[in-house]
Symmetry: C2
């Protein structure tokens, strides 16, 4: 069967969305649709314009015999601002406040629509970096790490605070919790990160940054580096933050557990470079 | 600006893929593209055929004033069989064997491409049921639960084996581990599941089924029921399985840790109803 343009465009959209950051040759599409490469090139021009205009992403074409097309997630910042405002409102509910200035977030990190959109935004922010893996610490950061890794087409690496038999041998480090100043342990299965990897660190919540600092120490043990740090929510109530370069989507301030008050604003996502 | 058909088809594909199981009115598309409803209907006919043919899913059209279109994930079983064979090969690596007949799976549950595809298959299997949430137990099942929940457009609910301050009040139950016969505890934040929900239980690995049995007991505490149980890997080496109705993608047998041997086959996914 030979495909019509309209049919090709539907299938190509689905295919590209499911293969982010993967180089797909024109030959592949040409054989898939039994169409001339010149027709495929014209299809890609139409796709490129709509992907760009609708904030779906960039289609990067690489010329030459070994060339092809790559779909890179790239959001349109103006288009996602209403989403972030809405998220701030959801988070501002004073019933979320828990002892110690923590927030109940299970419904937010359990919501695939929100996690997918935040993951898309994080992936877009770091789209131009070489990233080998997205790292987070169990449990609450996992859905966000997955949402991000899916768009970057890299594995999720999960650090734990307790050893499990199902991980094989592990590397562990001690770190100081930024808020409580207690010494804690975190560990990572040896097999789960390749030596020398460049990692994007993702978490749902950051106070002083002790946990994230712990992940950075762990990266050192694997001779790995980090390409960036991205958190869903940062809490501003911190005397000495351990981390200075990071991206946050939402910022909390004036957290008053006793009075059940909380101020929620946009984080630095739209303003940092 | 008014949209051409080719442009509409690209954007509609992206929009539908990002809004599974959501009723989208023809008016919405008609206004979005400044096009007549008759043109949108024609677009949907083209989309429907390609979605069906390529195993992307069903487009269900609901007629009438409050009608519209719904994208339901529905895979084509023949198309995913090579994926399951490949997965069996990946899992059959004897280096994955750990003491107690467990398997190292962190790389598999951390791989978004695999988790997305398995999630799509599970969502497709239970597409016709009314499902309010996907439940799993921390930590290793979370990415698979998310991958499934994303296609079902419902929240992920995460059961834990240890209490965290960031969850608020919790409901806990005791259960007997099927393999070790030890009594263990699992708990779920009160806020995280609505009373009377119908839940799909998902996990990465099932031996005797003690953990899944525990989740079922927990559901009783929330007056909730389960629509199904889906596991990535089941281990056949079980004398008395606690669970009888479930879907599995991969089945292990002849697990011999000392001899580093393992047999891996397709689970019951393609044969059970």
């Amino acid at each position: 069967m030979s495909w019509k343009r309209s049919e090709r465009l539907i299938d190509m959209t689905n295919y590209l969305l499911n293969h982010p950051r993967e180089l797909i040759s024109l030959t592949f599409f040409s054989e898939r649709y039994k169409a001339a490469k010149s027709s495929i090139s014209e299809d890609l021009t139409i796709l490129k314009d709509i992907f760009d205009q609708q904030g779906i992403g960039k289609l990067v074409t690489i010329p030459g015999a070994s060339g092809g097309v790559k779909y890179i997630v790239k959001i349109n910042e103006e288009q996602v601002k209403p989403f972030v405002s809405e998220l701030c409102q959801i988070i501002a509910d004073p019933d979320r406040l828990l002892p110690g200035g923590y927030l109940y977030m299970a419904d937010i990190v359990g919501n695939p629509t929100i996690m997918d959109q935040v993951g898309r935004m994080f992936a877009s922010k770091y789209a131009d970096k070489d990233i080998d893996a997205v790292m987070t610490v169990a449990t609450k950061g996992i859905t966000l790490a997955y949402g991000t890794a899916r768009y970057l087409n890299v594995p999720v690496v999960i650090v734990r605070k307790d050893a499990k038999i199902t991980e094989g041998s592990t590397v562990s480090i001690n770190y100081v919790s930024g808020s409580t100043k207690r010494i804690q342990t975190m560990l990572l299965a040896k097999k789960s990160l390749k030596d020398g990897s460049n990692v994007l660190i993702v978490d749902d919540f950051m106070k002083a940054g002790g946990t994230i600092n712990g992940m950075i120490s762990l990266l050192n043990e694997f001779n790995a580096s980090y390409a960036g740090i991205a958190v869903l929510v940062e809490s501003e109530e911190v005397e000495d933050r351990l981390i200075d370069q990071y991206t946050s989507l939402v910022k909390l301030s004036n957290v008053d557990v006793r009075e059940k008050q909380i101020s929620v604003h946009e984080g630095n996502y739209f303003t940092n470079s």
